[in-house]
Each structure stands twice: as C-alpha cells, then as structure tokens.
Amino acid sequence: MNSTHDLEGRMTTDAKPDAVALPAAGQTSRQTGNQTRRQGALERLLRRKLAIIALVVITIIVGAALFAPLVAPFDPSEQFFEGLTLEGAPLPPGERFWLGTDLLGRDVLSRLIYGAQTSLIIGLVANGIAVAVGALVGILAGFFRGWVETVLMRFTDLMMAFPALLLAITLAALFRPSLWIVAMVIAMVNWVQMARVVYTETRSLSEREFIVAERAMGAGLGRVLFRHILPHLLSSIVVFGTLGISTTVLLEATLSYLGIGVQPPTPSWGNIIYENQTYFTSAPWLVFFPGVAIIALALAFNLLGDALREVLDPTQKGRH
C-alpha cells in the first residue's frame, strides 16, 4: 500500500520548507498534536474509560489483599456449622454468606479476599520476575548474536523443552514448600516465552536503520539497548506480561493441587478452584467466583497495559 502510506505520511506533517505540495489537512492535525503534547501521560491515560475501569478493578483487588483482615467478613479458615445444609452440602450465595460457602462450611468471600494476597504475589512478583528475566535474556541474545545468542537461546530452548512440573517438583523436594519457593519456581518456568518474543523483536529492531545510526554516532551499548531498543519492546512486554498473570495464577493452583504449592488451609484463587472443581455441577459458585476474580485481575492489567502502551507511544498521539 505504497500510496496510502504516502498519504498517511503527508497528512500528519506540515511541509514548510519543502513545500511543493501542501495538503490543507496537515494544518489541523498539527494543532491537535500540539494540544495533546502539553498534557501529561497520566492525564491522557485518565481520559480513557477502559483504563479507568481497569485501575478501579486493580485498586479493589490490591486493597482487598492489603486490608484483608479489615475487609473480610469472616476468618477464611473458620468452619461454620451453619455454613452447611443439614445434608452437609455447601450453601449457595445468600444473606449471611454473600458468595456462599465451601465444602467445609467456610465463607467463600473471605477466602477469596485472603486468597488475593497469594494470587497477587504470584501474579505480580513471580510473573514480574519472569518478565524481567525473559526480557533481559531476549534483548541480550537478540542484540549481541554470536556466542551470547547461541548460549542464551539454546538454554531457553532447553527450558522450554523441560517439563515445568518436573522441575517444580524437584525444587519443591529440595526446599520446604512455601509461597516464596512457589513464586521462584513459577518465575523460573515462565520467563521462557517472554525471552523468545523479545529475542525475535530485538533481532529485527537492531537491524533497523535508526539503531545503526545510533551506533554510527558512537552511542554506547547501554544507550542503544535501554533508550532505543527497550521502548520499542514495551508493547510486546506489556501484552505478554499481562497474559502471564493468569497463566501464573493457574500454575500456582496446579502446584498447590499437587501438594507442592501453597499449603492448605491458606487460600489462593487457584487452589479454591482446584479443591472444588469436582463439584462444579452441584455447587457452581465455588468455581465461578474465583474464576471471575482471576479473569478480572488479568483483564484489568491487560487493559491498563494496552492503554499505557498507547499513551506512551508518540506516534499514537491525537488518535483515540
């Protein structure tokens, strides 16, 4: 689409000194460009509805996790006698237990609120470490080539081929299972995809002319890598990073299920689902609410990341 490209290019420019052909449209888009530039990135972020919704959801979840003892109506481990029917079945959502109770008569809402602590640590810390490691490995392998590339990427391939659960079980056998061990294990397993994505993009970026121009100018490695290459990778990192939140939360659930994750009765969103999945038909709320919580968290970060990416990209300014 050669000419559409030309047209697009012309429409957003003002060709003052080179003027042979000047489209009138250039003038108006230049003004809008100027206006948006004056406003800060935060302000532009807050003008997006979806971004605000995402921020609200994240605030609620983080707030609930931080102030769990104040917010939660009951103790998450307390088993209520009245939390079960006479036949011993869990209660559906009702007046006393808003989101119902589980098989042991515990309040699902309270367990979800306390579970947010675990899930946030896994989804943000473990996933965060995975994102950082993956991005670093990818960017180094993509930029340096040669033996650095060979060593890093073959190691990545090895990690990819290695069964994650086996690794987790091995590590859990070596150390006593705890939340932090689980987080480390998850980080070690999850950086691989990120490394692959970042590696591919860095490879093509480092051959772009503006990177070559930087090097020709004498720019040091740090400047090229972190000021010029990294900002271009942000959108992929954000997208994959937020997708990673749901994957890691569920991986934690798997590990807990196998007995090498968070130990019961400590609740996490993942282990609430796993404990109750067999009762999905008779007590759907036990799986439904933690599921919704995981989806809401992942979606909120995804929307926020998406909005951030657009706000931070100067070529997107003035477009909504």
Binding site: S3, G9, P17, D18, A21, A25, M217, G218, T315
Partner: protein, 591 residues
C-alpha cells in the same frame, strides 16, 4: 519509438471523473479527484507525480484493489470495452484482473510467493483465466518466459524466487502479467527498485512487448527520465488532481502548469554540468587529506553445511583506496551490491574491515573503544531513509542533541541552545524541537538527520544515498543545503549514490565502483565527459534522459546481471591495475 499516438486506434480503457476517498480520523479525504483519461490500443500513458499525488491510488482504483473499507471509489467510471468496472461485483472483477488488465508492482522481491516455484506461479496465473490442460499451461509458461527474454527459461520454471536476481524477478512478474494477453498493463513504479542498467533492460522489454502484443500500458512513475523515455502521453498529478495532460513532447517542451515546470526544473539531468569545472571553495584547506583510505577490504563469511562452517565469502570491498580533502565531495557511484554502502559502513566501524583508514591524519583503530569514539567526532553519517533512521519514539530535539550527550559535550541549557541553532542551520525552527519524527515530512526529516550529523562539527560526512528516498523537488532543496553547508563549514562529503545525475551535480571528484573495486576515478569532468572504463560508459548509457527529444530507440545495454561477489574459500579476487589516462584520471585496465 517516438511515434505520435494513433488517434484512430480504439480506446481500450476510459476513465471518467474518477474520485477516490480515504478514511482518516478527520473524515473522508479525497486522494484522487476528478481524474479523466482515455487509453488507446498500443499506447503508453505515463502517470507522473510525487509521493502523495494519488498516482498509485489511481492504479488501485482502476483495479478495484483499494483496501476497502478504508478507501473507496466515491464516484466516476472506469470503462473497459463497454463495461463499467466500478459497477462490477468482486467475482466479475477477478476475471478482469490478470485477464483483461494486468498489473506489475514496484517490489519484485515481495510480489512473488517465496515458497512456490516460478513455473507453479506462472501456471496458476494461466489456470485462473484460461481453461487449458496442465501440459498446455506449462507450454504457455515457457513461452512467456521466453518472451520476456529470461535466460535458461526451462531451468527457471523449476527455480524459486530467491534464486533469481531482482531484474530476473521483475521479468517473471511481467511474464505473469502477460501470460493471458491483457489489453491493459498497469505498471506501478516497475523499475524504481532496480539498478539503472537493469531498469534500462526492463524498460526496453516493456517497449518490445508492447509493440509485439499491442498492449496498452499505464506506467506510473516519479522519474521524469523514465517518462521521457517511455511515454506517448503524460498525465501529471498533484494532490489527487490532474495538473497537466498531453503528448510527451508538449509536456516537456511547453509545460503549461506551474507545478509541472517546477517539477521538471527540479529533475537532475545527467550532463547538466558539462563544461563546468568543480571548484573546491575551502578556505583553510591544508595539504593533509581529511580522510585517507588505503587498501580497504571488507569480506563477509557465508556459513553453510551441517557443521555451519565458513563455505564461501562475499568479497564486498576489495582493496579500495581514495582520499578526501577539506571542502571536497567525492561521489561514489555504482549499482547495488558493488560495495559502495559497505565502504560507508566500514568507515563508521559498523562492519569489520582490513586496511588503513586515517581521519585528519590519525589512523583509525579497529574495533570499538574510546579511540573509536573520539574519531567519530570527525566523521559522521547521514543515512538513506530519513523515515527509518530516526527513533520514532524520541523527540527530534533529543535526537539531534544525542551526539552531544553521548560525547559529553553539552548538557542542560547549553545543549538546548546548541540544538536550537542546529535546527536553524538546516532550515527548521527551534519550536519544532519538541515534536516527534512522524510529524515531519520526508525532506524535513532528512534535515533533522543532517542537523544530527552536524552536531559534533565533523570534518567529513558520509552521505549514503541520502537523497534517494526523497521527491525530486525536496531532493533539490536538500542538495542545496548540503552544498551550502559545505561552503560555509569546509565540510567534506563522501557522497554515495546510484543516481548518476545527482552525483554529477554535487561531486568534485567521482569514483565508479564495480564488484567491490573502484574501476574509474577522476574529476567530475574527467569521468562524466570522458568515461573510459566500459562499465562507466554502460552506466551512463543506461540513465534515462528527461528529454523526449533525446529519446533513444534502443537502450544499448547488454542483457545480464552483475556477477556475484561471492567466492569460494581460498579463491581470491584479482585486484585491478590502474592506468593514468591523464591528470590523475585513473581507469582500471580491462581484464
């Protein structure tokens, strides 16, 4: 070939009042406005214009290949043999595309499917429109390859696109376009991506095929030289409108419209500098050359086989020597793959090299380091594509100031002031510093690149195809700016280009490169007025002349591609020996 269009010939395609719109955030924008023309059998109509003039949109509108719903034909008609193409459904259009109207595109590299053989793709083009047996299609495919004069056509049928050179691929594209004997051939910048000698071959081919088959051709191009060589009639477009329409000799000799005149004036013409000596106006020019290159050699290893061993080498640059004095421009010309850009990269230490490079008398160390950083202050580079060589995420003020920051020469208030004065120096205003690259036009971006290159007050600038991506009118302004800067700052330029006319315009001395070596070097007058090496002569012969009165009936360019610079391990390249034909005009001895 300068035949007057046969007015009695039947009209094959008639475009009436065509209007095409593109959706933008600010509403529909008209990119083709009220376009009308008739195309007769056997005629060549050139649509000329600069980027954004709507010429490619016209072609896509006729073919109904617009990226709908982002763009659409708003009104008007395109009549082909009594049918209005704008009214046809998609299925009927499919029969017309490739059958009655065929199209060839600019990029022969990307227009072919890389995983299918040439023969398979040709056969498919035939099957779509003709109900023939497989054997017949194969026969027809072979015939068309012969018609486009591709060497060894039988073998080509079994080859994949990557095994062919750019010129050969464009021949295949033309063969595919002609496989069904179309009435109209639309060629959108068919030779823009090709070297000048290959361009001459392709233009010659289009002419011959047109004569043999009577196809009407719409040739879309920005190159007025190509227009003058090919057109019977010309349509000049500007901002979606026709500004001039007439016979080629009329348009070139008596342009009525001001825009056309401006456009024609801006076109660099080979031979325009004949008889003029190129005077270096450097005031403080010392005897020491600013840049001295001796025996520069660059080779790239090609790996292959199971063990990933080096199996062969690309001999990109072989023992090149030249020097550059203060205030002088050395033009480095040659076709793609001749190694001219590699020389630029080697000088900037972007590729590993051997030999000796001295900048202002000091030898340049191999590899990167503090010494490397120091010499870089004296040597800067402007790249080909102003769109690609600026980081799109940074403000242009920061980009221009970056060399100063990298070399620790200025910061804060002082940095801003220096950047502002650099902006003014290249014809931009300091209040544009806070914008991002995408808000500027191509010419302005190249000015930004020039400002960045000037930031460290270098002694010499390497300009690698620095004006090739720009429209001619903008190109002229950027060239003026470069020459102005040279006079003012005693700058030296290594001007790398494939465009002979531009090189003639700016260079004091010229070096012609072929297969990694310089085959001829001398002053501008020596090389352009008295080319002695056969390759230089061939290059000059192939350049299209923007003057229909001087149109050549036949391009005297031998068919074929430049041989490959790849050699097996251990096989060396024979270095050329130079003969001085007078006054330091060096010419390689014929092998």
């Amino acid at each position: 070939m300068t035949q007057t269009p046969d007015l009695a010939a039947e009209i094959v395609l008639s475009v009436q009042d065509l209007k095409t719109e593109v959706a933008t955030p600010d509403g529909a924008k008209t990119v083709v406005d009220g376009l009308s023309f008739d195309l007769r059998r056997g005629e060549t109509l050139c649509i000329a214009g600069e980027s954004g003039s709507g010429k490619s949109m016209t072609a896509l509108s006729i073919m109904r290949l617009l990226p709908e719903p982002m763009a659409r034909v708003a009104s008007g008609s395109v009549r082909l043999g009594g049918r209005d193409l704008c009214q046809l459904g998609e299925t009927e259009m499919c029969a017309i595309r490739g059958g009655d109207i065929a199209m060839i595109f600019q990029e022969p590299m990307t227009s072919l499917n890389p995983v299918l053989t040439i023969g398979r793709q040709l056969r498919e083009a035939i099957f779509v429109h003709q109900d023939v047996s497989r054997r017949e299609a194969e026969k027809r495919a072979l015939e068309t390859l012969e018609a486009v004069r591709l060497s060894e056509p039988k073998r080509r049928l079994k080859q994949y696109p990557h095994e062919l050179s750019g010129g050969m691929r464009q021949r295949v594209m033309i063969a595919m376009a002609l496989a069904c004997n179309p009435k109209v051939l639309i060629a959108d910048e068919p030779t823009t991506a090709l070297d000048v000698t290959i361009q001459a071959q392709i233009l010659q081919l289009i002419r011959d095929l047109q004569r043999d088959f009577g196809t009407a051709v719409i040739l879309i191009t920005h190159d007025m030289g190509v227009v003058a060589e090919m057109a019977d009639r010309v349509v000049v477009m500007n901002q979606g409108k026709i500004v001039e329409h007439g016979a080629v000799s009329e348009v070139f000799e008596r342009p009525k419209d001001a825009y056309t005149r401006e456009l024609l004036d801006a076109v660099p013409k080979l031979g325009a500098m004949t008889g003029q000596d190129a005077v270096i106006s450097a005031a403080g020019a010392g005897p020491e050359p600013v840049l001295e290159v001796k025996d520069l050699t660059v080779r790239f290893d090609l790996r292959g086989g199971i063990l990933d061993r080096v199996v062969s080498r690309v001999h990109a640059v072989e023992g090149v020597s030249f020097s550059l004095r203060a205030g002088e421009t050395l033009g480095l010309v040659g076709e793609s793959g001749c190694g001219k850009s590699t020389i630029g990269k080697a000088l900037m230490n972007l590729v590993p090299w051997e030999g000796s490079i001295r900048v202002a008398g000091r030898p340049i160390p191999h590899g990167r380091g503090e010494a490397d950083r120091l010499f870089r202050r004296d040597l800067q580079m402007i790249f080909q594509d102003p769109y690609a060589s600026l980081d799109p995420r940074m403000r242009v003020g920061d980009l221009v100031g970056e060399p100063l920051v990298i070399h620790g020469l200025a910061k804060g208030r002082e940095l801003r002031d220096r950047v502002a004065s650099l902006f003014e120096r290249v014809g931009l205003t300091p209040d544009q510093m806070d914008r991002h690259p995408h808000e500027f036009s191509g010419g302005q971006r190249q000015r930004i690149c020039i400002a960045r290159a000037l930031a460290l007050s270098p002694k010499a600038i390497i300009a690698d195809e620095s004006v090739s991506a720009l429209d001619v009118s903008v190109q002229a302004q950027v060239l003026d700016l470069l020459q102005e800067l040279q006079k003012e700052l005693d700058l030296s330029f290594l001007f790398i280009s494939h465009d002979m006319a531009v090189v003639e315009q700016v260079s004091h001395r010229v070096a012609v490169m072929y297969l990694g070596q310089i085959v001829e070097v001398g002053t501008r007058r020596q090389v352009f007025e008295n080319p002695r090496h056969p390759y230089t002569q061939r290059l000059m012969e192939a350049v299209p002349i923007p003057d229909p009165a001087r149109r050549r009936d036949v391009f005297k360019v031998p068919i074929g591609d430049i041989p490959s610079p790849v050699r097996a391990l251990g096989e060396s390249v024979e270095r050329v020996r130079y003969v001085d034909v007078g006054d330091r005009h060096l010419v390689a001895e014929p092998a």
